[in-house]
């Protein structure tokens, strides 16, 4: 076992490189190519998960050197700290079923014809994510970060004949590069101060102080925030996630955003010294904003994958909120409280990855079966795709934060952190905590409404289009991964202590955190970690619910034999899909209530031949205002384009002018150098 841990990561990297080579070599033979790419990915992921689990269990970091170039002094080394291991494990938990799913999913439509590219990009994406989580130096980290961005962009642009996909990929690249730019700047300043490129020196927390530290925090916050998809840096996410093939969307929503979260943890939370109170406020505010706006936007989407993408923003917000609470606690030296908050946030990272992966895989199956992503075109799918429907329902229940499933532990712990935070911090700042609590409650209730809608409109009642009526269940190969993730949803919901106990090792490895009392009550229960504030054992309660369920069944079983099936009363007409409640109508009350956020616009056209009182056709169009795109990014883009136009004067296009620039610059530099020496 020890040997495996030591060579695990290089071996995984080797497997990935071989897989990529084989995939490209076999590009002509689509089927073989597909299997090679995905089985290779699974093998590599298995290795990394093993390493990750071992590190988490032992609590000891694994370090090693990949490449050492003596002449330039550049070293690519890696370090699997417990925190890295946690994210590595999350990646593996989703990447393995996703790869298996892809083995079937990539055989259809456009992806099939580009399997070599997609297979390669898939491997590169997972590999670079592994590298991001384990890099222990700035150069390796930034390289991996950039490769990850490019691989994702390639996958987003898989269907590049579609304008929307190209636009999504472009937007993603632009936003990512803004983020990467901030990161590069931040790391350069940090490295300049520390005189080293290794994380252990850079992120020791003693490198910078004062206003410079605040500036660096802002840079890193923006840089990692873009990847984490928090509002207002989220604009790329709802475009890019749906555009990619569904299994890749699963990977992006479940794990790619956690790359940003990982960065926030590593650098903003625990790398720049004791956090400032204002940083924590910024994180909490952004977290709340993302959570509430994410779910509100998700509620109105009619594109299933976009809906899931917005809900990713929401969950990312909850995770960031937890981290913000932890930082607030650290700023006030409340270590035990910070521990609870970190546990909440990291638990949600894992659980969100599982149920969001599951939901995206389910969405992929539905999209494959019906050929559309529009919820209004689905309907009645539960009868035609019973297994997919069941798994999607489990995912929907989980993401709504309902007890007995795995969305609950993260939200439960976050609530603990917020409530304890209210009593533990001084002054008016503490009012943030109940505010965040109210926001979180609203968010989870809205998420429930959102997923009642997503599941109910898509899977229940009558088919709303011919495509939905002739849908078929997905092949076994696509169902098995979903079954696995659904099992994890239920399992981690019933025995939350397992994940929490594993997390304890991760928590104590972070600077400034300490565990006063264990948070895992055996495998079955969770406690609030401070005193005896609260505890929960979903398993016991599950038994109570099951007993009550059995009682209900017993009460009604006597007449079950004479149950009759009759047509639904449709007010005297025929019951068709047109009489069903639509997804748009379902979210209309909330759209009206939160119209200050949505600023909806609607247009009703009545097309009449003879008289306006007898319309032949009524067309209804509604849209919500893209607030951030219109009021934040549009002016920004105008500014950039405007200044670019201004700079065009410099770009004369004449060789001599350019040479003159060089000359002038050289002279200035020489004078400057002469002045300083």
């Amino acid at each position: 076992m020890v040997g495996l841990v030591a060579v695990g990561l290089p071996a995984a990297l080797l497997i990935r490189l071989l897989t990529v080579a084989a995939t490209l070599a076999l590009a002509r033979r689509a089927r073989t190519c597909r299997w090679v790419a995905l089985v290779g990915s699974m093998l590599a992921s298995l290795l990394t998960v093993t390493v990750a689990l071992e590190v988490i269990a032992s609590g000891l970091s694994v370090e090693g050197v990949l490449v050492r170039h003596a002449a330039s002094g550049i070293v690519f080394d890696y370090a699997v700290t417990p925190l890295s291991a946690w994210f590595l494990m999350v990646l593996g938990v989703v990447a393995i079923p996703t790869a298996l799913y892809s083995a079937a999913y990539f055989s259809h439509s456009v992806v099939a014809s580009r399997i070599a590219v997609v297979g390669t990009a898939f491997n590169v994406l997972v590999g670079s994510l592994e590298a991001v989580f384990t890099a222990s130096g700035v150069v390796a980290f930034l390289c991996a970060w950039e490769v990850m961005t490019l691989a994702t962009a390639a996958l987003v642009a898989t269907e590049h004949q579609e304008r929307a996909s190209r636009r999504a990929a472009y937007l993603y690249l632009v936003m990512s590069h803004i983020g990467t730019g901030c990161l590069v700047a931040g790391f350069l300043v940090l490295a300049g101060q520390a005189g080293s490129l290794s994380f252990s020196a850079l992120l020791s927390g003693h490198v910078v102080s004062g206003p410079l530290r605040d500036g660096l925090f802002a840079l890193f916050f923006v840089g990692f925030g873009v990847k984490a998809g928090v509002i207002p840096l989220h604009v790329w996410l709802p475009e890019a996630h749906p555009a990619a093939p569904s299994s890749v969307s699963a990977l992006m929503s479940a794990v790619l955003i956690t790359a940003g979260i990982y960065g926030l943890y590593r650098v903003c939370g625990f790398g720049l010294g004791v956090p400032d109170q204002n940083w924590a406020l910024a994180l909490m505010a952004v977290g709340m904003l993302s959570a509430i706006l994410g779910v509100l936007y998700a509620l109105t989407q009619t594109d299933l994958k976009r809906l899931l993408a917005y809900s990713t923003i929401e969950n990312s917000g909850i995770i960031v909120l937890g981290l913000g609470a932890a930082m607030m606690a650290l700023a006030h030296d409340q270590r035990a409280l910070a521990t609870v908050a970190v546990a909440a946030s990291l638990t949600h990272v894992l659980n969100h990855a599982i149920f969001k992966g599951l939901l995206f895989l389910g969405a992929g199956s539905v999209v494959m079966a019906t050929g559309t992503r529009q919820i209004e075109q689905f309907g009645g799918l539960l009868r035609r795709m019973p297994w997919t429907g069941l798994f999607f329902l489990i995912g929907a229940l989980s993401i709504s934060g309902l007890p007995l499933l795995n969305g609950f532990p993260g939200e439960w712990l976050t609530f603990q952190a917020l409530l304890l935070g209210f009593t533990a911090t001084p002054g008016l700042v503490r009012l943030n905590f109940p505010l965040a609590g109210a926001m979180l409650a609203l968010t989870s209730a809205l998420a429930a409404a959102c997923f009642v809608r997503a599941f109910g409109i898509s899977f229940l009642a009558l088919p709303r289009s011919p495509a939905a009526g002739s849908a078929h269940e997905s092949p076994l190969l696509m169902l098995v991964p979903q079954a696995w993730l659904a099992t994890l949803c239920v399992g981690l919901g019933l025995v939350p202590g397992v994940a929490l106990r594993a997390l304890e090792g991760v928590i104590v490895s972070l600077p400034g955190l300490q565990l006063t009392s264990p948070m895992a009550e055996g495998a079955w229960g969770m406690a609030s970690g401070i005193g005896s504030f609260d505890h929960v054992v979903p398993g016991i309660f599950g038994v109570a619910v099951l007993s009550a369920l059995a009682f209900a069944a017993l009460l009604t079983v006597r007449r079950e034999a004479v149950a009759r099936r009759v047509p639904t009363w449709a007010c005297g007409g025929d019951l068709t899909a047109r009489t069903e409640y639509t997804a748009t109508a379902f979210s209309k009350p909330l759209l009206m209530i939160f119209r200050a956020v949505y600023r909806p616009r609607r247009q009703v056209d009545s097309l009449a031949d003879v008289s306006p009182y007898f319309p032949q056709e009524v067309r209804y169009r509604t849209e919500i205002e893209p607030t951030f795109e219109r009021y934040m990014y549009a002016p920004l883009v105008r500014l950039v384009l405007g200044s670019a136009r201004g700079m065009r004067v410099l770009q004369a296009g004449s060789l001599h002018t350019y040479l003159a620039y060089v000359l002038v610059l050289a002279v200035i530099l020489l004078i400057w150098l002469g002045g300083t020496t």
Binding site: T423, L431, A441, G456, D534, F541, L549, L575, E580, Y581
Partner: protein
Amino acid sequence: MIPDAFLTIGASLLQAGGMLAAAPLLRTAIKKMKARLQNRQGPPLLQGYYDLAKLIRKEPVRSETASWVYVAGPRVYFAAAVAATTLVPVLVAVAPLEAAGGILLLVGTLAFGRFALATAALDTGSPFGGMGASRDMTIAALAEPALMLGLFAQALAAGTMNLGVLVRALVQQGPSWHPSDLLAFAGLFIIVIAETGRIPVDNPATHLELTMIHEAMVLEYAGPDLALVEWASAVKELLYLTLLVNLFMPVGIATSVETEALFVALMAWTGKVFLLAIAVTVVESTNAKLRLFRVPELVSVSLGLAFLALAIRFL
């Protein structure tokens, strides 16, 4: 000596059974009082039980469009409501299943039931189900933060989120007479009105498609399925009132399992729930139902009060 596990199971069964038995009475009592305020005779006090008995004996009639979700909906809703009763202290200052969890688990469980019923309502293809589900989830979503904050205000004052421990702490401290008590109570009372589908938020007696909320959601149900829904709603209502009563006026609640103490507790609990029921009746009788889009205003008042309750206790 009986092992603890058996004691817990026994207490849970007793409490769940008791709540199930008492719940229909509460609904009928409110109906009756309302009728009296309108100079009508009103139904006999046992009408709730007659209705349930009759519904359970009827044949289940279900839509042919519906799937298993439709059948599961009422059962899960019922199970959630019944299981939730074991998390709340009723007569004794101990919740039978307080080892399982506290406020968050309680709220989550009720949300689970709502999720199940709302999803099932979408299954028949009837527009009413969708309408009801949409409105019910909307109001629930708005009410949730106020409900949570109101409960948190009490929880933080006592330093625990576990309802059993919380009530014991309250009994031990005696009434705190802090302004935040009253604020939280007022906030929660509004929420209880909203969550139990009473006027001014919803009208339990209407079947007019434009105004009904909860009734629209369960419009397609008949027979035993409907019985489960109705019964569970009644249990939920009793549960909310009990929660209010025991969190804010834990007077008379038994701290030991002696016949005398239990008897006093039973009397006290009945009296206090009855008082609250009168309050609900008065509110129902003197107010007009609000438009759906006016409900957020009412709920925001309650959210404001709950937030204030939290804030001023620690300012």
